[in-house]
Symmetry: C2
């Protein structure tokens, strides 16, 4: 979203904020989804903060329950990528001047529903009034076994790259929400829109990844961007086989009509699936964990020596025209 003359989010963080985090090991150089605070002898506390702004990260007229769910779930997705079990969260709510009590009541009902769904509890926060748009910051906390929290670094050459669920639905859902994808059926469009509007963080899989995965991230910036972040933090290259990328039936229909939508599938964000680096000898353990979590996992590539993201289509190397690296 920023004019090109300016630096992007990742450069901003690496240039100005990573130096401020250098002396705290649990910050992981700000390269991973979560920070890890030392807790008791058996656990660390994983911490993740996310901010969503009305008109930027959700539509102005979105239902309060859905806004609550979105605010919480983008954080829970990061905790899942870290292998953490969420337990509490803090909420900062900047309400626009014209806020209505019934909006807050519905928002609180949305939080309550997700507290039951994910086993989490509010533990504090702040409430202010802003002359700007509704702005919500959630800081979510999870437990991980001591020193075992997953980050983006840690993958090794030869590790397989796996993805949970299906990829690209959210990006296609955004198109559907804007009135595109008319060639596919209403049922497909609804499915995709729903995947765009409401993240379903893979918390049930996340806490099974400890001892299986070497690194993980959630797909929030886009598949190629997020696997690229793992590769970069692990000082490796990653090779993605496009034809292995798991697709929903609706996404298959959309791609059959318009193959150019592959750019959206590989480059669009907001899927909130997990991408996971797993040594080949742990493949069966991952499959078993996924069965327990009732989440599909698919091997979509491999980490190798080198740098960057390589995409093959039908066995042939393909230029990456849209990586989604910069998301503001």
């Amino acid at each position: 979203m920023a004019p090109r003359r300016r630096i992007g989010e990742f450069e901003l963080i690496s240039r100005y904020f990573a130096p401020l985090a250098r002396t705290f090991a649990g910050a992981g150089g700000l390269e991973s989804d979560n920070a890890y605070l030392p807790a008791d002898g058996r656990h660390d506390i994983a911490v993740k903060t996310d901010t969503i702004v009305s008109g930027v990260h959700f539509l102005d007229g979105e239902s309060p329950e859905r806004v609550a769910a979105k605010a919480l779930r983008v954080c829970l997705s990061d905790l899942a990528a870290g292998g953490a079990v969420p337990f509490v969260y803090q909420l900062s709510l900047a309400l626009p001047k014209e806020w209505q009590e019934r909006w807050v009541a519905s928002f609180a009902r949305g939080l309550a529903a997700d507290q039951r769904r994910y086993g989490i509890v509010l533990c504090g926060g702040d409430t202010v009034v802003t002359p700007g748009p509704l702005t919500i910051t959630i800081t979510a906390f999870g437990q991980v076994p001591r020193g075992k929290g997953l980050g983006r670094g840690g993958a090794r050459a030869g590790d397989d790259l796996w993805a949970s669920g299906t990829i690209g639905d959210a990006a296609l859902g955004l198109r559907a929400a804007r009135g595109a994808l008319e060639a596919i059926g209403a049922r497909d469009r609804n499915f995709l829109e729903n995947r765009y509007q409401l993240p379903r963080p893979r918390t049930s899989l996340g806490n099974h990844l400890i001892g299986i995965a070497r690194a993980a991230a959630d797909v929030s910036d886009g598949l190629l961007a997020d696997v690229g972040h793992i590769a970069k933090a692990s000082q490796l290259a990653v090779h993605v086989e496009r034809d292995q990328v798991p697709l929903s039936t609706a996404a298959r229909h959309a791609l059959a009509v318009e193959p150019a939508l592959w750019a959206d599938v590989l480059g669009g964000g907001d899927d909130y699936e997990l991408v996971i680096a797993v040594p080949p000898r742990r493949a069966e353990a991952l499959r078993e964990a996924a069965r327990q979590a009732r989440v599909k996992v698919t091997r979509i590539g491999r980490f190798q020596d080198g740098r960057g993201v390589r995409l093959t289509v039908g066995g042939r190397a393909t230029a990456i025209s849209r990586t989604g690296y910069v998301h503001f």
Copy 2:
């Protein structure tokens, strides 16, 4: 700031958010400054989130270094009230569309200076762009001995009420910044303005309060409001002797010219001093802790059976016209 027909912040929290925190003991019913997460066998992690918005909590043209300091210090003040030693923080930065890299560079320098001053380190966060004003949310973390973190509840009848430093400077400083208080000298006005613009959280005193205080809060909403919060959470009344309230020389000068400013001194916020409930037998321990921390402490009242805040002036009970209970 809200129109009167609407409920205030405390009612909003007690009606909609406190029920969401009921099952987590460390949330303290959202009645205290901090949440406490169980950490190792010897410590809890104190957590505090605060949001500040440009044009609401600081002026639009404020220097980035000062904005950074203010954002951090309002949280550190709460941790101090909890008796916690701060160690890391998360930063969520919602930048206005027209953000400039040099602003971020100065802001990061401000954070770095306070990291050195308070012994804290950045451990994560989020960066987004907003169509609204610059909005900063800090979640700060501190360590407290297990189960010993202070809250607003816990005071007992007969406990003395103490205050750190001097009270009312920030409210008078706001007036001075708006061009009032011309009758006092420029030096006094500068002192007061500075107290308004830059909180100096009493972290050095805070971590000595464990084992001495039964409850504490920082003065952010105003002296009478904040001691009222302790009284309410402790199910007690609190009696404040106005003539014992510690004043700076500049505040004395202002009050000599315009005694009506007492309403500001007792009702205005943003002093970021501590108000502390201490059993009389621990008075000497508090004084010794204050000496070590190089912070002045003054006994200004007492907790009693009953409800509410009682103010005496020259030994006579006085009606409280302005309590500052509602701050938005």
